[in-house]
């Protein structure tokens, strides 16, 4: 059974539709990176999946529960790291942990403090006095305190310095390795998420452009680096995106790479190299590749 699933889910504010007929599926233990430009609707989709926004149409299920109807029950199984951590500013993280513990049946208060200590965050300092990175790390520690089956993160590494970012991902990775938590992370941090995610969904102008295992995308997308004398028409079957010559050669992205067809066409394998997630994302969003 999918841990997270939504079908033709439409969400918005008032009469304004922000996410249109979105479909997602994350198997239990999977890690979905939800990518999209600013204003693409990532946060709105996350809010809809957490039962914070009423669906205009369609349906969503997390762990078999309807987030809109069963939010309270669902939140006992879900950990949330919001884009802007909003623990009440006067509360210390130790107090916040005690507060969360009172509302949940299962709560690892010692684990929260231990995790905060490991990340170098002062649990006795008011939340409002913590830095941006410390707040996010604190929110992650709280989100993991209830041993959630699903972890939802909304652009958590935005504004974090490289060290804090690495520490953040290390904690997420540690939890994944330890308990196999299902993760949905909306993010712009393509580099950070590339080594963690096993599935990617790209949201563009409110619609899900693609949702696929990362490996499939990596197999399908290639970064093209061919000599200047190469015939651009030869790349047409491989979904060329942003193909341009710069005098020294041809550069671009191939969105429909097929190794067998490439070999049959007599093209040099060195011209098509593995694409990173940023290349894939850019090709989809800017170049219209699907």
């Amino acid at each position: 059974m999918s841990a997270i699933a939504c079908e033709r889910l439409t969400l918005g504010y008032g009469r304004r539709e922000v996410v249109v007929e979105a479909g997602l599926e994350v198997p239990a233990g999977g890690f979905l990176a939800l990518l999209g430009r600013n204003g693409a609707g990532k946060s709105t989709l996350v809010r809809g999946l957490l039962g914070l926004l009423p669906p205009i149409a369609g349906s969503a299920r997390i762990l078999g529960l309807d987030p809109w109807k069963d939010r309270a029950a669902l939140m006992a199984k879900v950990g949330v790291v919001p884009e802007t951590p909003d623990v009440p500013p006067a509360m210390t993280l130790a107090d916040a942990s005690a507060f969360c513990g009172r509302l949940r049946g299962t709560w690892d208060a010692a684990g929260v403090l231990e995790r905060l200590d490991r990340m170098g965050v002062d649990a006795r300092k008011p939340f409002g006095d913590l830095s941006r990175g410390q707040r996010t790390q604190g929110a992650l520690a709280l989100a993991l305190g209830g041993s959630p089956e699903v972890l939802v993160l909304d652009d958590p590494t935005q504004g974090l310095d490289p060290v804090a970012r690495r520490a953040f991902f290390r904690e997420v990775l540690g939890d994944l390795a330890e308990r196999g938590t299902t993760v949905l992370m909306a993010t712009h941090d393509l580099e950070g998420v590339e080594t963690l995610a096993d599935r990617v969904a790209v949201l563009h102008e409110g619609r899900v452009l693609v949702q696929a295992p990362l490996e499939d995308l990596k197999a399908r997308f290639r970064r093209l680096n061919a000599p200047a004398q190469a015939d651009p028409a030869a790349f047409a079957p491989f979904g060329p995106v942003h193909l341009r010559g710069n005098g020294l050669g041809l550069e671009g992205t191939l969105a429909a790479f097929d190794a067998d067809a490439w070999a049959r066409a007599g093209l040099d394998p060195d011209w098509a190299r593995g694409a990173d997630l940023e290349t894939i994302f850019t090709a989809m969003v800017e170049g219209g590749a699907e």
């Binding site: 918005g12 504010y13 008032g14 009469r15 304004r16 996350v46 809010r47 957490l50 039962g51 914070l52 926004l53 009423p54 939010r71 309270a72 029950a73 669902l74 939140m75 006992a76 879900v78 949330v80 919001p82 884009e83 802007t84 951590p85 909003d86 623990v87 009440p88 006067a90 509360m91 107090d95 916040a96 507060f99 969360c100 009172r102 509302l103 949940r104 909304d154």
Partner: protein, 428 residues
Amino acid sequence: MKAWVFARRELRENRLVWAGAAFAAVVGRALPWAKGLRGENEVLAAALALHLGCVLAVAGFLAFRGIPGDLGERRLGFDLAQPAGLGALLGGRLLGDWLLAVGSGALVLVPALATGVLPWGKGLGLMAFTGALAAPTLLAAHLLGVAWRARSLWILLDLGLAGFLGWSLDALLNTFFQEAPGGLEVLLFATPPVLMAVLLLAVILPLAWGRTDLARVRRYQTLILTPGLLLLPALGFLLLVWSRAGGPASIRQPLRKNAPAGAWSIVVGPGRLQRPLGFLVNGATGFHTEAPGGPCAFSGDGRHLLVVRPAGEDLEIVDLALGDRILGSTVRMRLPRRGASLGLGAVSQDARRALLILGRALVVLDLEAGRILREDKGERDFFLARYVFLPDGSLQETLPPAKGGARILDPGTGAWREADGSQAPVPR
């Protein structure tokens, strides 16, 4: 209980409110010693004003910036990420805010209660009243907070409706005053619970439907508030139509205050709510005239009417002895304690002296000279039936059975002396 977890956090998070209330209490205590503000009544007035202001300000502020503030930021609310229902979340936070408002208000009253300026019984009654008032304030401030953050023009409709509600209730109350005074009580008793129910629904239901979608929450609020606020005038109008059509006798019964003796009475007559004028009616002859404005009371023998003028400063005594003729004000004097609760004990037969309870003091006024003849402070309750003016204008007090006997207030010296038994009490 999850609601209590949220309430506790609200109390802890806003603990600075207590410091503010303590400061207000100290200011309230110190204020009457400022130039021109002296005396027990000033202390009491300052304490009451600070109490009411504190409760309403705390309730309004906390509810305005509370949950709608979290939603308004359109963040993933920390509270909404907890496994707690909306009822627990909203109820708990409102309960916490309510406790803060009422508690800080109580703190402001402590000096007045401790020093005896305000009796404990009255203090508790006051706290119960402001506590009840704090609940709709919390809800209204919450609604206003959502409306403010949603930046929706629907707020104009809500404010217009609230204005219409105020105007229509005022008009209805005045009409009931004139035509069916008994229905006034029905309207006054029905209004608070109906209004409270409308506010509760307008807070809870939109959040349940729209949650963090403020635009939707706002729309639903207007959908609930519009018929809700129109419901009260509609009910009042139906009640009025019913009373005009014959309704039950209890609705049509006029408000009447009868003199203890004699034929005079005051019947509520036409006039706006803010200026409730009545008719002074002689039941024996049918003579009637517009009653003087302001709180008034008949003397024990029904012969005089004492009136406190609307400003609350002047006392006027009206002689009703001549049946169909009002002699007009025979005496006017400035009340020694402005704003104090007034109770009329008795008026001498020559209307030259009057016995009043002003606040917690027994005051005998020499109306002719415009001065206080005697003032006995400190007692909380006076049994007015023990006092009677004798034909010579002196005041006799029948002492409690434990002491026995009586004593006389000498009108010349203003001092009490023991009655010698030759002066028989005159029936009131």
